[in-house]
């Protein structure tokens, strides 16, 4: 009986040749904490992969019974020795073991088949769905594209979160930091952004890469389930490293994510990469550096911790038309302690990125979710990428909220305030209510435009702030049911034309008439 597998094996055996090229070898002279010191390998390069000859004296059966070769990564070139981090079970490495150079810099295998899969930091599938068909290896460390290869950010990435898309717009190719204490909804914003991409037309839909760095396996599993449930896994790759894995793998994970992103970017596609989170990445790098006996600096981080993150995030880019026009948008996440954004790693990453989204525990506890502090959140390049329709409606919202924040302190003296101040506070409260959104429920941008336009033009005047959310839902379903052409026009044209504005005004008047019960409450 002949099967394709047997045929392939036969063919391979026919062409089987023994190796006749000389390889450089070294010997392990010490090993501990996942770091091996190797003598020899005089011509080795930084970031080169080496293979530990596990089965030096073992039989063929024993050699192939160990699932895969044990690799190491050269990270220190010293006078007589090289220091290598073991990418796997370091307890298999023994003193005197032979080590072979591969001549290859560390790379991840990539191909179209990697989309929709969960892989580890070395690009190997870990979701039990079988092998991934790959067509090339992308180096994990690589110099970012130069100035002349790039074009300015000019297309938006819609997160589906009203507060972000209206006031802190993100462009394709931008690096926007998501920063906040634990449990403030940082990952939720990133996941919502991934889910929201399903509303983008297929040809413009970015490929999403979620890099989990040292996360609990349960958290990664639940994120995968959420994405699958929302139908977002089909355009997403998860690069997962858990807290139980060795620090070198945690260190490599975001670089692997960037390498996978670059593969698609070079094909002219847009990519969104979420690094969740770079605080844990910095801690893993610190651990590895200390074990490699590199000198510690501030907070015991090595001196090149800034360069580590800057060279990673510099790889996000919007390529020029000549290079296909692809992009990588990076959404790094940083976890702060007690809201301290002036700590070492947060200040580093703030200065590297093109803006930041600040999330606050106080706002979260007050029920304002996403707990976004719009006052100090900023996007430095995204506004030029905002759609015309959103730009038109979003200008007012920031001003209203800024005024509301100034007057917020006077809210407790409500009875002594003049009418104008009361009106401004009331309007601000309604905007705050409008910007609240449920978890994993992103809103497509055309609905956001309608919603914010309605708020700017008095749909919620004379209504109770507690009703805003309900009114918004009903208004959007009213438009979606009876005036769908409005949404379609904004979605395709991405503009608020006079015709659309007229239709919206008529719709608002009709809605007010048919939903009069919402407006009775405030009359008192």
């Amino acid at each position: 009986m002949s099967t394709p597998i047997i045929d392939r094996i036969k063919k391979e055996i026919e062409n089987l040749q023994t190796n006749t090229t000389a390889e450089e070898i070294g010997v392990v002279i010490s090993v501990g904490d996942g770091i091996a010191e190797i003598e020899g390998l005089t011509n080795a390069q930084m970031m080169e992969m080496v293979i530990f000859e596990e089965g030096e004296k073992a039989s063929l059966t024993e050699t192939i019974s160990s699932e895969k070769a044990l690799f190491g990564l050269i990270l220190n070139l010293e006078e007589d020795t090289v220091k290598v981090v073991v990418l796997g079970e370091s307890n298999l490495v023994k003193e005197g073991m032979r080590v072979r150079r591969t001549g290859k810099l560390l790379s991840v295998p990539v191909g179209a088949g990697i989309v929709g899969r969960v892989v580890n930091a070395l690009g190997e599938p870990i979701d039990g769905k079988g092998a991934i068909k790959t067509d090339r290896d992308m180096p994990i460390e690589r110099v970012a594209y130069g100035v002349m290869d790039r074009s300015s950010v000019n297309e938006p990435i819609h997160t589906g979160i009203k507060a972000i898309d209206s006031m802190i717009p993100i462009g394709r190719g931008q690096r926007e930091l998501i920063i906040g204490d634990r449990g403030t909804g940082k990952t939720t914003i990133a996941i919502d952004t991934i889910i929201n991409q399903k509303y983008e037309p297929k040809e413009k839909r970015p490929i999403c890469i979620y890099v989990a760095i040292g996360q609990k396996r349960s958290k990664t599993a639940s994120i995968m389930a959420k994405l699958e449930e929302a139908g977002a896994l089909e355009y997403t790759t998860i690069v997962a490293t858990s807290a139980a894995e060795a620090s070198p793998l945690l260190f490599l994970a975001p670089f692997a994510g960037a390498a996978i992103g670059e593969y698609f970017m070079e094909q002219g596609k847009d990519v969104v990469v979420v690094f969740d989170d770079l605080s844990k990445h910095a801690v893993a790098y610190r651990q590895m550096s200390l074990l490699l006996r590199r000198p510690p600096g501030r907070e015991a981080y090595p001196g090149d911790i800034f360069y580590l993150h800057s060279r990673l995030l510099e790889r996000s880019a919007k390529l020029s038309k000549e290079l296909g026009g692809g992009s990588i948008t990076a959404l790094p996440i940083i976890e702060t302690q007690e809201g301290d954004v002036s700590a070492y790693i947060p200040t580093n990453v703030i200065s590297i990125t093109d803006g930041q989204i600040f999330l606050e525990t106080d706002l979260f506890n007050k029920g304002i979710r996403p707990a976004l502090n719009v006052g100090i959140s900023v996007s430095r390049v995204g506004s030029s990428a905002q759609t015309k329709a959103m730009k038109k409606v979003a200008g007012k919202i920031r001003l209203e909220l800024a005024q509301f924040r100034e007057l917020e302190a006077f809210m407790q003296f409500a009875s002594d305030l003049d009418d104008d101040t009361k009106k401004r506070i009331d309007s601000g409260r309604k905007y705050v209510e409008l910007l609240k959104q449920k978890q994993n429920d992103p809103m497509p941008f055309y609905k956001q435009v309608v919603s914010i336009y309605a708020a700017n033009n008095g749909l919620f005047d004379n209504a109770a702030p507690s009703n805003v959310s309900k009114m918004e839902t009903e208004f959007l379903s009213f438009i979606g049911r009876d005036r769908k052409e409005i949404l379609d026009t904004i979605e395709t044209g991405r503009e608020l034309t006079d015709e659309v504005v007229e239709k919206l005004n008529t719709s608002m008047a009709d809605f007010k008439e048919s939903h009069a019960h919402f407006y009775n409450v405030v009359a008192k």
Partner: protein, 125 residues
């Protein structure tokens, strides 16, 4: 510094008639310079360097069976590695076929075991 001590001691040991005297002088020098703490590491280094100079000077050949020890490919491999010294040959049946030759920090693994392992990993990748 450590490397300089190791090289000096090894060179002295290779030419000296009295090994004890070399080691005694080395200890005294380290003591005088205040480097006594380096002594254990220096001794380990000396042992390694000795092994390297003595063992690495002779190419090591492992063959699956006698028939491979006279093969043309093996002679060619020794030339590739830049040695015409008579190799120390051992028989290692776990290689299945072919040979493995090691000289200083370079190696040519032309064994069937390696070829089959690579084939297995390529097919099962």
């Amino acid at each position: 510094m450590k490397k300089a001590y190791i090289t000096a001691i090894v060179d002295s040991l290779l030419t000296a008639k009295d090994v004890d005297a070399v080691l005694k002088n080395a200890t005294a020098l380290l003591e005088k310079k205040g480097h006594t703490r380096l002594w254990p590491a220096v001794l380990r280094g000396v042992a390694r360097e000795f092994e390297k100079r003595c063992v690495d000077a002779v190419p090591l050949v492992a063959v699956a069976s006698e028939e491979f020890s006279q093969s043309e490919a093996l002679k060619q491999a020794l030339v590739t590695l830049g040695t015409n010294a008579t190799p120390k040959t051992v028989i290692d049946s776990s290689l299945i076929g072919g040979f493995l030759v090691q000289y200083q920090d370079r190696m040519i693994d032309a064994s069937y075991k390696r070829a089959l392992t690579d084939l297995y990993r390529k097919i099962t990748k």
